[in-house]
Amino acid sequence: MADQAAFVSRQAARQPFEINQRQVQLDLWVRRIGKIGLLLNPVFAYFFLWAPIIVLIVFSFNAGRSVSTWEGFSTQWYQNIFSNTIAGGTEAARFTTENMLGAVRNSVIVGVGSTLLSTIIGTMVALSLVRGRFPGKKIIDSLLYLPVVIPEITQAISLAIFFKVVFDFVKLQTGLNPTTGFGTIIIGHVAFSISYVAIVVRARLADMNPRLEEAARDLGANEWRTFWRITFPLILPGVIAGALLAFTLSLDDFVITFFTSGIGTSTLPLFVYGMLKTRVPPEINAISTLMLVASTVLVAISLGLQGRNAARR
């Protein structure tokens, strides 16, 4: 402290408005470098984020098999996808158009099923945590955050072991022979989606004025009626956003599906992974581009819905 006081008095002893030219020059250089850095960084970052995707799209229209040399425009890979000649029809029988469309269908079945369940369960738990008063809320809160932070690979193998144990037990007790399939995939997807839906809906509920509900009850509406006439319409954008998030997560999921799917229930990511692990036919660029377009459309719809709701408020 004494040092500091000495320093201050020494400073004061100098001329109060003496300008140190060297210091000013240095500060100006610091500012210039900072400005350049702040402009270069986004240029680099956006390039880094977008270049691989753009290269992927561009080369999906390449006439040759190469992913680096442009040999002219062609839509042959797209045609191949839909004419059952993926990889010239030579690849193992699993990469057929029929199997790919089957994988798309499976993805949609799993996506719709898990989204419906997780949206209902997630919205309910969000309501209970924001509006309810009961002991143990903090524990439920922590429980909800766990699937978000525990690594996917751990959740995946946990479910794999769990289903094996349960199925062995069922087999021993009843003689039935349950196997992994849509049911087990959906169970796994719901287990991680509930948390995301709950987080999104909860944020929406927290923004909502609770007096609106009180007013409805004062006017004689019972709780059921209050919920469907007041609360639900007001949190609907949050519920839709949560549902779209759950749907996207489900469509995107690879690791948990990989460990919980059965024969004939491969989803699109599993199909793509199989292709990547074998020989990477050039059609994969075209399939990836189509997936990109599909997810962009989904995001656009979701943003459109949210935008319209925001405008209406």
Partner: protein, 286 residues
């Protein structure tokens, strides 16, 4: 009067009943499976690689003696990834949140999030094609005559780090953006008035006040990258292997499920430690 007196208790019960499906689902299909993994991690390897009696600590012994190096490599890869994300993500978040035109700001943010909405496998594959022996980087470099032989960029730890940065950069940008957005830039003016230059103002004022966002971003990137599976699987080859790949290997065909479970428990422990550090030092507001 009786109905009014009863109302609060009725709501109390309803509140809990609404939470019940989620609690049951997560207990049955999340907590219980994780608990089973914990138990299996102390079992011996039985026929077909599944767990069997007797109980043993041998799996953890093997995790440390045999897989210790890969675990430390994984921690290192996740750490480097997180630091790179921070170095790229902080200025980026700063750039976005200091755009004055709100439409420009939304667009800048949207351009960060959109790649993130596309399928993770597809994005990783996109990097694979760029880094490959016949990929565009090698194509351009040999086209310019800078290299004779194509560089082996794929199947290295560096490729894994690049892939992870590519996949998780938005997780760093978004929380920092939220922090910088809330920051009051009059503090910087005050610092300037008191004689600090830009660097000093940044280090002493801006950075400490946006630290909660930095810490949140650090955790949000570190946790998924430490348990990454797809990225090292597609970009890492045998040299860029991570703990997630080890776990997966023990569960395919006749692996060693108790050993894989022990690896999983160790992974969870590392994530929990990271979380505890966050809770201890992180953003107390949220």
């Amino acid at each position: 009067m009786a109905s009014i007196a009863r109302l609060p208790t009725g709501r109390k019960q309803r509140g809990f009943l609404l939470a019940l499906p989620a609690v049951l689902w997560l207990t049955l299909f999340f907590l219980l499976p994780v608990l089973i993994v914990f138990v299996v991690s102390f079992l011996s390897r039985g026929r077909g690689g599944v767990g069997d009696l007797p109980f043993t600590l041998a799996n953890y012994e093997r995790v440390i003696t045999v897989f210790g190096p890969i675990i430390t490599d994984s921690i290192w890869i996740a750490f480097v990834t997180t630091v790179i994300c921070l170095l790229v993500g902080y200025p980026l978040a700063f750039f976005i949140s200091t755009r004055h035109d709100p439409r420009m700001r939304s667009l800048a943010l949207f351009m960060i999030i959109l790649p993130f909405w596309t399928n993770f496998l597809v994005r990783t594959y996109a990097l694979q094609t760029i880094l490959g022996r016949e990929g565009i980087i090698n194509g351009v470099l040999s086209g310019l005559g800078l290299i004779g032989e194509p560089l082996s960029l794929l199947n290295t730890p560096e490729a894994v780090i690049l892939g992870l940065v590519y996949g998780y950069l938005p997780f760093m940008v978004l929380p920092i953006y939220a922090s910088v957005e809330r920051f009051d830039f009059r503090y910087v003016e005050a610092a300037h008035d008191l004689g600090a230059n830009d660097l000093r103002a940044f280090l002493r004022v801006v950075l400490p006040l946006t630290l909660p966002g930095v810490i949140a971003g650090f955790i949000l990137v570190f946790i998924p990258t430490i348990g990454a599976f797809v990225t090292p699987d597609l970009l890492g080859g045998t040299r860029g292997i991570m703990i997630g790949n080890l776990i997966q290997q023990q569960f395919r065909g006749s692996g060693n499920q108790p050993l894989g479970s022990a690896l999983s428990v160790v992974l969870m422990a590392m994530v929990m430690i990271a979380l505890l550090i966050y809770v201890r030092f992180g953003d107390r507001e949220s």
